[in-house]
């Protein structure tokens, strides 16, 4: 048949190339794993200074790579943003854009050994001291993880252990991280936590197993576990994606209420623009491992600058807003192994011009809070 030819996949590797990649990967992975497993590291090695003491977390030029057998995937490639104290930062993007990997890097939970933080720093403000999480060995990280930073995962169905009761899973966190708690006191605190997240019969739920609860209830239990040690930062990784709209409304309401009561910060990772608009103070939009736009909610939603952000907003149908035809961004995200060296969005962009074929655009400042990585925002050139 004419017109159909067995096109050889562009990314097919020969056995020799593959072996070279694997050898190189093993070297890199061994290097990074050794750094993480050091024992008896003095604290001074990972102490640092915050750029602004009002920030809780500062990501600075973070690079997280995955060394796979077919090449290096730059899942997070130079991401910098801040989480101010007591605010909610929404990280938006499509699947595979690196938003989850950013949060996992902060928790040091990136799938090791193939996934490694290669460059950059994550500064965490723990009150009187500041730590650089990238430099911290695993041993030291264990004291922070779950206590100062806790995480709510996407799948409430799979993130609870099915063979332990709800109670023992909350107790575990309390006994591990808070000093001076006896088992009895831990139980009292667990029940109090369950009550706080709006579970009607906390004593009965304490003794039940995860399979006996509905999805919304399980997500509440997850939130109770995350809150048990009164963390400074809660990372919510798609907390409502697996839930129904009515349950989603309940959970978002709960998160908002908790934030007001405890004055902790929330890093909210989601692909739902509606959820972000409602919850977040600041928004970070990611595409293919990089930040393409960041700003306050009003900056991003009322005055989006990057063509990808604009396209994303236009392609989502909104209730009670009539459109003839949905806008759709043509094409797909580029292959993560062979990224182009020009703007990653250029091939899908409807406003590209000559300059886009050049280097990857830097983040241009639009206002004090609003930044976008697009040559269209380059005011200095236009003025000339």
């Amino acid at each position: 048949m004419n017109g159909i030819n067995k096109n050889k996949n562009k990314y097919t590797l020969t056995r020799k190339e593959e072996r070279a990649i694997i050898r190189e990967n093993r070297k890199m992975m061994r290097h990074f794993e050794k750094l993480k497993k050091r024992k008896n590291v003095s604290e001074s090695e990972y102490l640092t200074q915050m750029r602004d003491p009002n920030n809780l977390v500062e990501f600075d030029d973070l690079h997280t790579y995955f060394y796979t057998d077919i090449g290096t995937v730059k899942a997070v490639d130079g991401v910098s943003f801040e989480i101010p104290k007591g605010s909610t930062v929404g990280v938006v993007g499509e699947s595979g854009c690196g938003k989850s990997v950013t949060s996992l890097s902060l928790m040091q939970l990136v799938q090791a050994p193939q996934g490694q933080v290669v460059k950059g720093s994550i500064r965490f403000n723990a009150g009187d001291k500041c730590y650089d999480i990238v430099k911290m060995p695993t041993e030291a990280m264990r004291k922070i993880r779950g206590k100062d930073i806790s995480m709510i995962f996407q799948e409430p169905m799979t993130s609870l252990n099915p063979v332990f009761t709800i109670g023992s899973q909350i107790d575990e966190v309390i006994l591990l991280h808070l000093e001076g708690y006896t088992k009895k006191q831990a139980k009292e605190k667990s029940i109090e936590m369950l009550k706080r997240v709006g579970i009607a019969r906390p004593e009965a739920v304490y003794d039940s197993y995860p399979h006996e609860l509905s999805g919304g209830m399980r997500q509440r239990v997850m939130i109770a576990i995350a809150l048990a040690c009164e963390p400074k930062l809660i990372i919510a990784d798609e907390p409502t994606t697996a839930l129904d709209v009515t349950i989603q409304a309940q959970i978002l309401d709960l998160l908002r209420e908790i934030k007001h009561k405890t004055n902790s910060s929330i890093m909210l990772i989601t692909h739902d623009l509606g959820v972000v608009a409602e919850m977040a103070d600041y928004v970070v939009v990611m595409y293919a491992g990089r930040i393409i736009e960041k700003g306050t909610v009003n900056d991003i939603f009322l005055d989006p600058k990057h063509p990808y952000t604009i396209g994303l907003m236009k392609s989502k149908p909104v209730v009670n807003k009539v459109v003839d035809r949905l806008y759709s961004i043509p094409g797909q995200v580029p292959n993560p192994i062979n990224m182009p060296n020009y703007c990653y969005f250029r091939d899908r962009c409807d406003r590209r011009f000559d300059k886009c074929a050049g280097d990857y655009p830097p983040l241009y400042k639009i206002s004090d809070t609003h930044y976008a990585a697009c040559y269209l925002c380059d005011k200095s050139k236009e003025a000339q």
Binding site: E94, T246, I247, L302, S315, S328, I329
Partner: protein
């Protein structure tokens, strides 16, 4: 034949009358079923030719069961399904087989609904061969034509599903359904597993194909904004019943049932300046194996009255084409 009822309403592609589907969850010692899960309990609707009916509801409300029952993938307990004037509920195996190409299904998860061992051409062409849609000699050209219609390049013909992204796979699923020249397609959450920008591509494709071939869709989804965009009529389901049904405008501009109102207000709006008066429903969906007496929504309803706990409300027409089952409105 006695089971083919010719009706006069030729404008309807599909009419569903009092559809019931009970699953057996308990048996007596002798094996007689005595406990039932009423997944679909007395559901009626009809779909005009070339239009889309959107079916919304929370997970576990029975919307997927409705879709599968219509295609007779489930043996229904009671009721009538009239497709193009023919009652298909009692059709025998051979007659049903002849009908199959006319009714197709697009599944939710494009990752698990494609066989990993077949290439794209085989996936799309298998049913074309089985049902002899086109003569052998034209088979390959026909499949390539269908692929082109769905935005798939001809060189994909020999590739395997794992080489494609989610959006492309969903296009393959759509092409597979389309290849049989159906008149009616059940879309069971076709875009839930996809990203926003890919979602828009697939929804536009489904709409374009409808304009081109005049299909009728039953569009099952929990995403109200997508349903509003694609549907002509919308039905809202709760625990196996349709609680409200009407045209798109009636449901979204003038929702009458408290559940519809709560569902609409729960959808987050991507605009930070809008502060909504949200109706937050308390509690979870009750177990369908043991639904509440009276109105099934009474345990979570913000406007619950005494009568709601005792008497199930009548499903009644209040405007032209706008039916509601709720005690807040006159019952007789």
């Amino acid at each position: 034949m006695d089971n083919t009822i010719k009706t006069n309403d030729t404008q309807y592609c599909l009419q569903v009358k009092n559809l019931k589907k009970y699953f057996t969850i308990g048996k007596t010692f002798f094996g007689t079923p005595n406990q039932f899960l009423k997944a679909v309990d007395d559901v009626s609707f009809d779909i005009e030719k070339g239009t889309t009916l959107g079916l919304v509801g929370e997970s576990g409300c029975g919307k997927t069961t409705v879709g599968r029952s219509i295609l007779r993938l489930h043996e229904i307990t009671d009721g009538q399904i009239i497709f193009n004037g023919v009652d298909i509920t009692k059709l025998k195996h051979e007659e049903l087989r002849r009908l199959r190409p006319k009714m197709q299904l697009i599944f939710q998860d494009p990752y698990s609904s494609l066989s990993p061992r077949m290439n794209v051409g085989e996936i799309i062409g298998e049913a074309v061969k089985a049902h002899r849609i086109v003569p052998r000699s034209e088979y390959k050209d026909y499949v390539l034509g269908v692929m082109q219609n769905c935005g798939l390049r001809p060189q994909y013909f020999d590739r395997y599903p794992h080489e494609f992204s989610g959006g492309q796979r969903q296009r393959i699923c759509i092409a597979r359904a389309l290849a049989l020249k159906p008149e009616f397609i059940v879309c069971d959450e076709p875009v839930s597993a996809l990203d926003v920008s890919i979602q828009a591509q697939i929804i536009n494709l489904l709409k374009d194909l409808q304009d081109q071939y005049k299909f009728s869709y039953l569009f099952i989804s929990h995403d109200l904004s997508v349903v509003e965009y694609i549907s002509h009529k919308v039905g809202v389901m709760y625990l196996g019943n349709i609680v409200e049904m009407g045209t798109k405008e009636q449901i979204f501009k003038n929702p009458m049932h408290p559940y519809t109102k709560a569902l609409l207000s729960a959808v987050p709006v991507p605009d930070p300046t809008v502060k909504m008066n949200r109706i937050i429903l308390q509690g979870d969906l009750p177990s369908p194996a043991n639904p509440p007496k009276g109105c099934k929504f009474c345990t979570r309803c913000p406007n619950c009255m005494d009568i709601c706990k005792e008497v199930p409300p009548v499903y009644k027409e209040y405007e032209k084409g706008h039916k509601v089952a709720c005690h807040l409105y006159p019952q007789d």
